[in-house]
Structure formats: structure tokens, C-alpha cells
């Protein structure tokens, strides 16, 4: 089978499944469509890996005439629909942005679009494979998980209209659009898929149709449309400068030289920043958690925000060594530092996860913005590890929420007793996020080493040093909460559907496996990719990899040490100043009244309070973006 067929399959197959799901009647059990499609997508992504990992960059001719027309029509339909919703909900900023963008696109099509006939619309390289694997495996696992989740969700929230068919339809459209985005070489196509993801996330965030959900959906929409407008402006700029349209091909554009490429690069990276929810646009992603948890998992790990960093990664070679690139990198760096600190002050689990996502994406943006070859390597590694661990964590939180009815970290105390298997999974997911020798810490380590060689790298090293330790704090206190052994707890880990378990097991396995085989991923996919773009590449020293693997092995066998204690230890209640403890969970107060023992974590709101840091970050990041824009304005003039 030709690779191009695989690419088309991955784009179209989810779309077909989506349409099936939309029209599947109530009588037909749609869960099988979801499962089979997910399996198909996963298998084909893996097959793509097998078939294409040793190929370099390949571009494919693919006639674009009719496709372009269809895309324009779909875009206009969506625009009209959004206009309608915007006016109905009186969200005039969104309305204006929709109008501006539609005008830009129409103008583009009218002036240049019909003249331009690109020869290579699709392309494919190792980065596409990595993205495809993330979307194809993690994305489809999340779809399967949603089956069980949404059922419970509607049982718990009878007031919310059951629009599950539309929900699954959008999930698969989302996947399809993501595949389209990572396989498209034609920037016009990329913009189209870009807008589809914006639209899907808009509807999914507003799923519950409460006022809060609608507001947050429109917030997400406006911010992403702002990026979309910048994207469209970039297209017009390219077409004005080069009416032949050859430079609308991504792989030609990034080699077209600084003077030309930097302007579209900055505009498109600005779009990437909005999509990747960097400061000052982070609020749409934190707001997006009103959506059902699988949606958050999807947005955070395999789609949407990953599209943002993906596009910035694509432009990294252009940004390398430029002041504009540095500004974008600084936006990422500051986002990482501030959101890691903000996460300390949060007790809502999904909010903590959201801030951690934004922070890690910030790190990726920082790497891509500086854009040297070894930072590119780090950025891709970060993206992989983050996708795996974050999806697992979101789904775990979702499952816990379904069972205990709360997503507050303070309510997750003693989870190791109440839901032992899930607690261990969460532990592994969190370890994947911040502990040596798992994924993220490997990337952070490599990032520090890579920044030492980069211009102005020192700034980023300092950011990493402080931001990294802040993230350690919020992960570890959450971990501690889960692992604290509150006694006499009931096990409530029942009634979780088997397909949920299957997804959770697979993702947990992936976190460990990815940490084990990352040298392989690096040498098979990342290094050839970096090599092909920069002509040089990097990797971790063999000795260090060995040590990491040994540490991982040690970490895995350590728990077994508990089986080999010579004598059974004597169990005593915890020390509470001699207070008589009844079962360790209660103590008798001075008036003979029995109190429950409640322990709660530190949130250090005075130091890491959300509002203050957010304000500061917004100001600084707007400033940086403004500088970047002024600089490209200088280039134009």
C-alpha cells in the first residue's frame, strides 16, 4: 500500500465513522462503531509508522481544485453557523472575528485562490508520523473511553440534554481534522483543518449548554479565531508576495529565507500561541474544563493544543536565531514559569492539569522558538511524553470524578485505599510528568543541556530551574494526597466499565513503555527528522541512557521489597500529640466530642495566587508579542 493512501485513509476514515455515528439510529448500538473505528485508526497509525519511519520527507501530489471548493463551502457554512450562534448569545467579539476571518478568506480566494494550483498538497515525514501516532493511538483511546464516561455523565447530570451522537460525531471529526492538519503541506489546507479544530472544540466545550459552558466556549472560540485571523493574514501576505503560490507549500516556505519567511512565520506562530493556550490566551483552556473530561483529555493531550505547538515546531528552523523567535520563545518560557507557579494555588484537579499542560506547552514553544537542532529534538520528545502522561491523568481524574463525585484534590485523600488501581495509575502518570527517570524529566534535563548552547539560553535555564521546581511542588503534594493511607476506607473501585479499564491500562502501559523505549523513538524518528532539517542532530549519551534505564528498573522492582519484610511490622496509630485516636481518623477533643481528622495541602495563595501572576504574565506576554509584531512590521516596511 502506498503511503499516500494511508494518509488519505487516516484523514477520511474518521470522517466516515463520524458521519455514520451521526446518522446511526437509536436502535443501532453505536458503541461498536466507535470501538471499531478507534481500532482501525490506531492500527493504521501504527502501520504508517512501520511503513514510513525510514522514509524521509515525501510530498504528494493531490489534485486540489474540487477539494478547495468543498473546503471553502464548509468554511462558509461554519462561519454562518457561528454568526448565528454569536448573535443569538450576544457574543459580539466572536461575531466580529468570524466576519473578519471570513472576509479575509473570501478575499484571499477571490484574489489569489482560484489562480493558485499547488502541486504538492500532502506531505509526510517523521514528525507527521509522531503526530499521527499521538492522534491515532491516544485520540482514539480517548474516544473509546468516552463511551463509558458519557453514559455515567448523563446518569449523573440528567438536566443536560443527551446529545451524544453529536458528541461522538465531533470527536471523530476532530481526529480527522488533526490528521489533515499534520499531513497537509498546503497552508490553505492547514488553515482549513485549523478552523475545523477550532469549531469542534467550540461545540464540545459548550456541550453541557449551561451558561458557564457557553461563555467558556465562546471565549475559546474568540481566542482561537484571533489566531485564525493572523493565520489568514499570513496566507494573504504570502500570496501577495508570491502570486505563483509555490510558497504556500509548507516545505518550500520554511526554506525561503529569513526576510520572506519570518513574517508568515510570526503570524502563524501567533496563531499557534493562541491554540496552544499560551499566556495571554491561557484562559480558554482553563475554561474548557467545563466540558466532559474526555474532551479535556482530547484537547490537552492529542489534539487542539498539540496543533498549536506542531505548527510552531514546523516553523522552528525559520525562527532559529531571530529576535522574533526569541520573543515567541520567551512567551513560552514565561508561560511555563508562571503557570507552573499558578498550579500550586489550585485545588481543582482539572485546573491543575490544565495549568500543567499550558506550562509544558510553553516549554515546547520555548524550545521551538529558540529553534536550534538539539532543542527541536527536546521539543518533540516533550510532546510525546506529555501527550501520553497527560491523557492518562485526565482519564484517571475523570474516572475518579465519576466515582466519588468530586474533582477536588482535597477530596482525593486516601485514594490508594479507596481506589487502589486507579491511584497507582495516577501515580505512574504523575511520575511520568515530573519524576526521574520518566519522560518529562528526561526532556527537561535535555532542555537544560541544550539551552546552554543556545543564544540567550541562560534566561531559559533560569526559567526551567524555577518553573521545574514549582511544578514539582504541586505534583508531589497531589501525589501525597492520593497515597496517604487513611484507614478504614471503603473500596469504591467497582462498577467501572471494562473498556474504561482497558483504555486506562493501555495508557499506563504506554507511559512506562515510552520511558523505556524513548532511545528507540529518538533514533528511529526524532533524530532522522532533526537531521533532515538541520543537517545535524543530538541524542542522550549512551551511558546516561543505561543509567536511566537501570533507575527505571530499580523503581519498578522497589515496591516488591514490601513483600520481603522479615517480620510483620507492628501497626500503631499516627502520632497526634497523644490524643486518643479512634481508628486513626478521629480524635477526641477537649469536650469529649469526637472530631474527624482533616488534613489539607498548602496552596500558598499569597505567593502563587492565580490573579496576580496571570495579570503579570498577560502584560509581559502581550508586550513580547507586540515586539515581535513591530519587528515584522519593520521587515515589511
Amino acid at each position: 500500500m502506498q503511503i499516500v493512501q494511508l494518509l488519505l485513509f487516516l484523514i477520511l476514515f474518521p470522517l466516515i465513522s463520524a458521519i455514520f455515528l451521526l446518522f446511526a439510529g437509536k436502535s443501532f448500538d453505536s458503541s461498536w462503531i466507535v470501538k471499531i473505528s478507534a481500532l482501525g485508526i490506531g492500527v493504521v497509525s501504527l502501520y504508517l509508522l512501520a511503513a514510513g519511519f525510514d522514509k524521509g520527507l515525501i510530498t504528494y501530489a493531490c489534485s486540489s481544485g474540487p477539494v478547495d471548493l468543498v473546503m471553502i463551502i464548509i468554511e462558509l457554512v461554519i462561519a454562518v453557523y457561528l454568526l448565528y450562534l454569536g448573535i443569538r448569545h450576544r457574543k459580539y467579539s466572536a461575531v466580529i472575528l468570524v466576519l473578519v476571518q471570513a472576509a479575509l478568506i473570501l478575499w484571499f480566494e477571490a484574489t489569489y485562490g482560484h489562480k493558485i494550483e499547488l502541486s504538492f498538497n500532502l506531505f509526510f515525514d517523521q514528525l507527521s508520523i509522531i503526530m499521527a501516532l499521538i492522534i491515532g493511538i491516544i485520540g482514539s483511546l480517548i474516544c473509546v473511553y468516552s463511551l463509558g464516561y458519557m453514559e455515567t455523565y448523563h446518569q449523573h447530570h440528567p438536566e443536560i440534554a443527551d446529545r451524544r451522537r453529536m458528541f461522538f460525531f465531533l470527536l471523530f471529526v476532530f481526529l480527522s481534522a488533526m490528521f489533515g492538519l499534520v499531513f497537509s503541506n498546503n497552508l490553505v489546507w492547514i488553515l482549513f483543518f485549523w478552523e475545523i479544530t477550532t469549531f469542534c472544540s467550540f461545540v464540545l466545550i459548550g456541550y453541557s449548554q449551561t451558561e458557564e459552558a457557553t461563555n467558556n466556549a465562546f471565549l475559546a472560540l474568540s481566542m482561537n479565531l484571533l489566531g485564525g485571523v493572523a493565520f489568514a493574514a499570513a496566507l494573504i501576505y504570502i500570496a501577495t508576495m508570491d502570486p505563483s503560490g509555490r510558497l504556500l507549500e509548507l516545505n518550500t516556505l520554511i526554506y525561503s529565507g529569513y526576510v520572506f519567511a519570518i513574517i508568515p512565520a510570526v503570524l502563524i506562530c501567533f496563531a499557534g500561541l493562541t491554540k496552544a493556550a499560551q499566556l495571554p490566551f491561557s484562559s480558554w483552556l482553563t475554561g474548557a474544563m467545563v466540558a466532559p473530561t474526555p474532551v479535556s483529555a482530547l484537547l490537552h493531550s492529542s489534539t487542539m493544543v498539540k496543533a498549536g505547538v506542531y505548527i510552531i515546531l514546523r516553523f522552528a528552523p525559520v525562527l532559529m536565531g531571530t529576535t522574533e523567535g526569541l520573543m515567541i520563545a520567551l512567551v513560552g518560557g514565561i508561560t511555563f514559569l508562571l503557570t507552573s507557579c499558578m498550579a500550586i494555588s489550585q485545588s481543582n484537579a482539572k485546573r491543575v492539569l490544565a495549568y500543567s499542560t499550558i506550562g509544558n506547552l510553553g516549554l515546547i514553544v520555548a524550545c521551538a522558538g529558540v529553534g536550534t537542532y538539539n532543542l527541536m529534538w527536546v521539543a518533540i520528545l516533550l510532546m510525546i511524553f506529555h501527550a501520553v502522561a497527560k491523557s492518562l491523568l485526565f482519564l484517571c481524574v475523570g474516572t475518579v470524578e465519576n466515582r466519588i463525585g468530586s474533582r477536588d484534590i482535597e477530596d482525593m485523600g486516601g485514594l490508594i485505599e479507596r481506589m487502589p488501581k486507579l491511584a497507582v495509575m495516577m501515580f505512574i502518570g504523575m511520575a511520568g510528568m515530573f519524576l526521574a527517570p520518566f519522560g518529562m524529566i528526561i526532556s527537561k534535563w535535555a532542555a537544560i543541556e541544550a539551552f546552554t548552547a543556545a543564544p540567550f539560553g541562560l534566561v531559559f535555564i533560569v526559567i526551567l530551574a524555577f518553573g521545574g521546581s514549582a511544578s514539582l511542588f504541586f505534583w508531589c503534594k497531589w501525589m501525597g494526597k492520593i497515597l496517604s493511607v487513611m484507614r478504614h476506607q471503603e473500596n469504591v473501585e467497582t462498577g467501572i466499565r471494562p473498556e474504561k479499564w482497558a483504555v486506562l491500562y493501555i495508557l499506563t502501559g504506554l507511559v512506562v513503555i515510552v520511558a523505556l523505549i524513548f532511545p528507540l523513538i529518538s533514533s528511529a524518528l526524532i533524530e532522522p527528522f532533526v537531521m533532515q532539517i538541520y543537517g545535524e542532530t543530538t541524542r542522550l549519551a549512551q551511558a546516561n541512557i543505561t543509567i536511566m534505564l537501570l533507575m527505571l528498573g530499580l523503581l519498578i522492582i522497589m515496591p516488591f521489597s514490601m513483600l520481603f519484610t522479615r517480620k510483620a511490622p507492628r501497626i500503631a496509630p499516627p502520632y497526634m500529640g497523644g490524643m486518643s485516636t479512634e481508628g486513626g481518623m478521629k480524635y477526641t477533643g477537649s469536650m469529649g466530642v469526637s472530631h474527624d481528622l482533616v488534613l489539607s495541602n498548602y496552596y500558598l495563595k499569597n505567593y502563587f495566587g492565580e490573579e496576580r501572576l496571570f495579570m503579570a504574565g498577560t502584560l509581559v506576554c502581550w508586550g513580547l508579542i507586540l515586539i515581535a509584531f513591530i519587528m515584522i512590521a519593520g521587515v515589511i516596511l
Binding site: 521545574g468 501525589m479 507492628r570
Partner: protein, 293 residues
């Protein structure tokens, strides 16, 4: 001559065997000197070994059996971090392993679900985030001077690192106070007779588990002082003198200051890392990149 990889393995083994002895002796000297500063005679030099010996004679008393696992992991990963350091490994990897071991201690305290352990755990975490940036800046500073993250190469460098990194060195000494659990920064638990909120992270560890934690501390002492050595590595004699003076200063500070709040700890440690450390590195960066490209 022993070939390179074997030499580093032998170093690691020597560390694993001797570090507890050296660490215990350091702790013993520490207590003796402290006592003299307070006008007392003080315990025998080998008192720390007696204490740990006693812990292993006692019964294993736990709140939850998982504490055994956490205490053991703390010890094991502390030893691993130190062994990596002494075998000449990558500084950053050493730091991450070091952090990992502390996370286990913190988790052990959380696991007990007791008010005192809990406060200790939170404070220990605050301490970790207080000192970690400075330690990473130290590693990066050494890299900027010697062009290597490997302890093996740093130690062989003939450059007097201290002359390039005076700010970083002072910063490191300040966070060393946190790490050695000495006043004014002994928030989460403190060494020997001091007390703060019962015994912080170690409150609910007893018997052999407490012994393991103590041995881990000894490993930690040797590792931390090994970092001091690196600053002076070009001349071993000066280096050893520097270690002795540095440690004496720590004891002096311990005995002449009173404990501060965690806010102050966090602020001062970050301030030190952010000013002394960063300015030092910035100047170095400027000299290396701009003046002599």
C-alpha cells in the same frame, strides 16, 4: 592504570561502602562541635552510629506498611544519586535522582496521614522547591566554566572554578544550610536534638525505618560536601580545607541563629538563587559569549 569505566565503578562502590562511615563521622563531629559551642562536653564521636545501631535493634513500628517501602526507596535512591556523582556521572542526572529520593521521603510522610507528618511533608516540599533552582544553577555554572556536565570532567578541570563562580558558591552554601537541616532553615525536620513541630517528616517513622532515613542523611552529607569539593577541585588540599571551613560555618550559623518561617526560607533561597546565582552566571555568560567569543 585502571581503565576509565572500571575506575568510575570502583569509585561508586567505594562511595557506597565508605560514605555512611564518613557521613556518620561528620555527624558525630558536628554534634561534638555544637556541644562545645554551647559549653557542653557533648556525646562521643561515634554517637550517630550508636543511634542508628539502636534503631535497628528496635521493633518495626509503622502507621502503614507502605512506610517501609518509602523509607527504603529514600535510602536506595539517595545512595544511587551519590554513587552516580562519585562515579563521575552527569550532574543534572545526579540532581534528578537526588530529588527523586526526597520525593520518597515526602510521600512516606504523607502516607502516614498524621497532622505532624503532613506539615513536615509540606514543609519539606517547600524546602525542595527553595533549594532546587540554586542547585541546578550550580550545575549549569560548573558547565559554563568547564564545558562539561560530567562530574568526572569537572573534577579533572585545572581551572579554579571558585574564581569564576563566587556568587554561585555563596548561594550554594546558603542552600546547603537547608539541605543539612540546620538552623535557620530546619523547617521540615532537624538533625539531632532540635525539634520543630514534633519531628516533621520523620514523625511517624520509628525503629529501622528511622535508621534508614538517618543513613540516607549520611549519604547525603557526603554528596553535598562533594559538590563543595568540585568548586576547588583544581587543588585537593584547598578543597578539603574549604569543605572543613564550609562545614564549620554551617555549624556556627546553626548555633547562632533561630529558626525562620517557611516564607522567609522560600524567599531567601529564591532570592539568593535569583540574584547571586543568576548574576554570577550572567557575568560569566557575558564574558564568554561577548568579550571573548
Amino acid at each position: 592504570m585502571i581503565p576509565e569505566p572500571y575506575a568510575s565503578i570502583i569509585n561508586a562502590i567505594i562511595y557506597l561502602l565508605l560514605a555512611p562511615v564518613a557521613g556518620g563521622l561528620i555527624a558525630g563531629i558536628d554534634r561534638k562541635v555544637t556541644a562545645r559551642m554551647q559549653g557542653r562536653v557533648g556525646p562521643p564521636l561515634l554517637q550517630p552510629f550508636y543511634d542508628v545501631g539502636k534503631f535497628f535493634e528496635k521493633e518495626n513500628l509503622v502507621v502503614t506498611t507502605t512506610q517501609n517501602f518509602y523509607a527504603l526507596s529514600y535510602l536506595v535512591f539517595m545512595a544511587v544519586a551519590g554513587a552516580l556523582f562519585f562515579s563521575g556521572g552527569d550532574m543534572l542526572l545526579v540532581i534528578f535522582a537526588f530529588t527523586l529520593s526526597h520525593i520518597f521521603l515526602v510521600l512516606g510522610a504523607y502516607a502516614a496521614f498524621s497532622p505532624y507528618s503532613h506539615i513536615g511533608a509540606e514543609r519539606e516540599l517547600i524546602q525542595i522547591i527553595a533549594y532546587e533552582p540554586m542547585i541546578i544553577i550550580t550545575a549549569v555554572g560548573m558547565y559554563m566554566v568547564t564545558k562539561s556536565f560530567y562530574v568526572g570532567s569537572i573534577v579533572q578541570s585545572t581551572t579554579p572554578i571558585i574564581l569564576y563562580l563566587p556568587g554561585v558558591f555563596i548561594g550554594y552554601l546558603i542552600v546547603l544550610t537547608i539541605k543539612l537541616r540546620k538552623s535557620p532553615f530546619d523547617l521540615s525536620t532537624s538533625h539531632h536534638a532540635h525539634q520543630e513541630i514534633v519531628k516533621g517528616v520523620t514523625t511517624d517513622f520509628a525503629g529501622p525505618n528511622l535508621g534508614r532515613i538517618e543513613i540516607a542523611h549520611w549519604y547525603e552529607y557526603v554528596f553535598l560536601l562533594g559538590v563543595v569539593y568540585l568548586f576547588f577541585a583544581w587543588n585537593p588540599l584547598i578543597a578539603i580545607a574549604a569543605i572543613i571551613i564550609a562545614y564549620f560555618l554551617e555549624i556556627l550559623v546553626d548555633n547562632t541563629t533561630s529558626r525562620v518561617k517557611w516564607q522567609m526560607t522560600l524567599r531567601s533561597a529564591w532570592l539568593v538563587a535569583g540574584t547571586l546565582g543568576v548574576i554570577n552566571l550572567g557575568v560569566l555568560y557575558y564574558l564568554r559569549m561577548v568579550v571573548v567569543p
